[in-house]
């Protein structure tokens, strides 16, 4: 409920109460005044006639009293007049009906008992009437005004009582009129005052209060520092000033609160950025194929990305606390440590540090490391941070490429040399053969000529191999759709004689139903014969040579050609070299060192792979995987 309504609710009843009281009092007062006037008039008339009444009462006759009564009634325009004796008996009455009655009612008794006039308002025939009873005394000459000495009438004798009834109708009408006018005036005055009061309240109390309320509302919405006009120096003004002070203080304190909010927001932003940065690092670290690491200043791992397990076999938590150089392969550890010491003493970012490390399962892994020192806040060395990249495969590929390039170069060289050698060799061979045929058996020159012939033929074979090798490098062998088993059988027929003389058992394990491959039959034979020859050479005391074919289970889309022996096996350190041209372990004159390199070239040029398993003293197994579909590079079939 609004304040104004509350005020009105308070003031309106109050005003009405006051108004009512005032009107009531005024009406009473007015009534008394008007009545007093009527009374005085009546008394005055009675008083004027008091001598006559006194004389008439002395006679005690109605005839003397009635004219006086009639005259009195007319003088005051009364309703009735009567004269009573001391007992209440009506001596005379203007109303004939009342004649000779004796009034014994309480009022009359009181009137008769009173020495002073008595006034009473009574109703006569439904009209209000003021009844005045005035005692009539025996007139004493010295006593002029009995009324004034009425209080002391010890010497006087009461003759009777005059009753005078004056109608009040007119008086009451007057009184009502006056009262109406007064009421109207009162209401006007009170209404005006109320209006003024309301306006005053609205102006002096409500307006500042509303201003203050709207000010508070604004401040509560954040308009700190707002000042409301204070106005008068009353309680409301003080309240307003106090509010202004609070608002100003609020502004001061809220400024710092704003900064706090801003700082909190800034901190949130920074935290979010940090989180994002962390997440980004984590993702990079997890998704990178490289092993991201951190060590302490001593070189003990403090962090490794999960990739470490894929590279080195150890989980990051297994690496934690271990020295990075724990994993260097033992044979190179000394050299690598020296290089590490040099890098670490440089105290700068480094890259391209290559090291061989031992995988958890024992094999060798080549890592390329980049990194740099990590400094703490005061610039002291806190550790190292960097990246290890597994370049084992890359190294293998590089090695294979180098090998391939070497082969190619040798092939070209061999082709050129072979061409130049063939000419003189042809002459030597021709002369040697014809000369040898010209001498008889047992002649002194027969043996040397035969020897020249034989050695020339050896040279011829060597050159032929070289030429085949160089041609295979150029992928110029005629490729046909070929049944691998048929080609292998053809090759085996050429070595059967040799296996027999060397006490080697030949075992065939040819799978049936193999898909055809696109290959040169001659090259398949070269592969088989070269591998078989090596195997036979590896079994000087005899053994078993197993040649097998199969659909590869390891590599879908490939067929396998396997040549296994039970010979000496190939020592580890030689395994990488056996495919190099001119590498041979055979005694001088027995091998050219081109056999396996030729096999390598042929297989490689057809997109195939050679796998070697070998155990020293137990034997070796060459597995050649050849793709069933020709690789795009070997599309020289029609040439």
């Amino acid at each position: 409920m609004k304040l104004l309504a509350k005020l009105l609710l308070f003031f309106v009843p109050l005003t009405l109460l006051l108004l009512g009281t005032a009107l009531f009092a005024s009406r009473r007062g007015m009534h008394a005044i008007l009545l007093g006037e009527v009374r005085d008039r009546g008394l005055a008339q009675i008083s004027v006639n008091s001598r006559a009444f006194s004389a008439a009462f002395e006679t005690g006759s109605e005839a003397a009293l009635l004219p006086l009564l009639q005259s009195l009634k007319e003088q005051v325009r009364g309703v009735q007049t009567a004269a009573l004796d001391g007992t209440g008996k009506v001596l005379a009455h203007t109303n004939v009906m009342e004649k000779s009655k004796t009034y014994s009612d309480a009022l009359t008794v009181r009137m008769l008992g009173e020495e002073l006039p008595v006034f009473n308002e009574i109703g006569v025939k439904g009209e209000p009437v003021l009844e005045i009873s005035a005692p009539v005394w025996r007139e004493e000459p010295e006593k002029e005004d009995f009324l004034l000495s009425a209080g002391n009438n010890s010497g006087k004798r009461r003759l009777g009582t005059i009753l005078l009834g004056i109608p009040l109708t007119h008086t009451i009408q007057l009184q009502d009129r006056l009262f109406m006018r007064q009421t109207a005036l009162f209401i006007l005055a009170v209404g005006g005052c109320s209006l003024i009061l309301v306006v005053y309240v609205a102006l002096v109390i409500l307006r500042p209060a509303r201003r203050l309320a709207s000010g508070i509302a604004k401040v509560s919405l954040g308009e700190y520092g707002l000042a409301v006009p204070a106005g008068a120096d009353d309680e409301l003004g003080q309240l307003t000033r106090a509010f202004n002070l609070m608002s100003a203080n609020l502004k001061n304190t809220t400024v710092s609160r704003d900064r706090l909010i801003e700082e909190a927001a800034e901190r949130k932003r920074v935290e979010a950025a940090l989180l994002y940065s962390d997440e980004r690092f984590r993702q990079v670290s997890e998704r990178s194929g490289d092993w991201i690491w951190e060590t302490d200043s001593e070189g003990r791992y403090t962090y490794s990305s999960p990739v470490a397990q894929a590279i080195l076999g150890y989980k990051p938590e297994e690496l934690k606390g271990r020295y990075f150089h724990d994993f260097f392969i033992p044979t190179e550890k000394a050299n690598l440590l020296a290089e590490c010491a040099r890098i670490m003493s440089a105290n700068a970012i480094f890259s391209g540090f290559i090291s061989k490390r031992t995988h958890k399962d024992g094999h060798e892994v080549i890592l390329e490391t980049s990194g740099g020192p990590v400094l703490n806040g005061s610039g002291a060395l806190a550790g190292y941070r960097g990246v290890n990249r597994d370049i084992t495969q890359r190294r293998k590929l590089e090695a294979a490429m180098i090998q391939s390039e070497k082969m190619s170069a040798i092939g070209q060289l061999a082709a050129g040399v072979a061409h130049e050698i063939n000419n003189p060799l042809g002459i030597i061979l021709g002369f040697a053969q014809s000369a040898a045929r010209g001498v008889k058996e047992g002649e002194r020159l027969a043996m040397p000529l035969k020897t020249i012939e034989r050695e020339a033929i050896r040279c011829k074979d060597l050159v032929q191999n070289l030429l085949v090798f160089s041609r295979s490098s150029k992928q110029s062998a005629p490729v046909t759709e070929l049944d691998l088993n048929t080609a292998v059988e053809g090759a085996l027929s050429m070595i059967t004689a040799q296996t027999k003389t060397c006490n080697v058992e030949l075992s065939r394990q040819l799978a049936s139903g193999l898909p055809k491959i696109f290959f040169s039959a001659v090259q398949v034979q070269q592969i088989v014969i070269n591998l078989a020859n090596n195997s036979i050479d590896a079994m000087p005391k005899g053994g078993t040579l197993t040649v097998g074919t199969a659909l590869s289970g390891l590599r879908p889309g490939c067929v396998e050609l396997r040549v296994r022996d039970t010979g000496e096996g190939i020592p580890k350190e030689r395994r990488e070299k056996i495919f190099e041209p001119f590498f041979t372990t055979k005694e001088v004159g027995k091998g050219t060192g081109l056999g396996l390199s030729l096999v390598y070239e042929i297989v490689h040029n057809h997109g195939g792979v050679i796998e070697l398993e070998s155990e020293e003293g137990k034997g070796s197994c060459f597995t050649i995987l050849l793709p069933i579909q020709p690789p795009p590079a070997s599309s020289g079939r029609t040439a």
Partner: protein, 124 residues
């Protein structure tokens, strides 16, 4: 024993040793071995007389063996010509070209004695 009496053999090769070899092998058999050391000279020598067989080296300065073969076969389609090469020919490209041009045989150095004899024996 092959008799080469009255029959001529032309050897065209820039390698002198082969001329010596052919003479050493064939002259005892009665053949007359004539020599030319490059293609153009070989063609000129070819026109001088009739030959039972002409041995043409492929790799020669100037006119190559195959060009000489072509010229000779055009001049005398029935002429027996043997192509010699110091390379090898696993895809038979040279051999095929030579046979297409009418060569009787294609032999590769270092050839053996019998490969010469086979090509001069039993020739009318």
């Amino acid at each position: 024993m092959t008799s080469g009496a009255g029959r001529n053999i032309l050897v065209v090769d820039d390698e002198h040793g082969y001329h010596d070899l052919f003479r050493f092998v064939l002259e005892p058999l009665g053949f007359t071995v004539l020599s030319a050391y490059e293609g153009t000279a070989g063609v000129a020598r070819f026109h001088e007389r009739d030959y039972s067989a002409v041995f043409l080296d492929v790799h020669m300065p100037g006119m190559t063996g195959l060009e000489a073969l072509k010229t000779i076969r055009q001049a005398k389609p029935s002429q027996r010509v043997i192509i010699m090469s110091s390379g090898s020919d696993p895809r038979q490209v040279l051999e095929k070209a030579a046979v297409d041009l009418g060569a009787a045989d294609c032999i590769f150095k270092p050839f053996e004695l019998d490969q010469i004899l086979k090509n001069v024996e039993n020739i009318p």
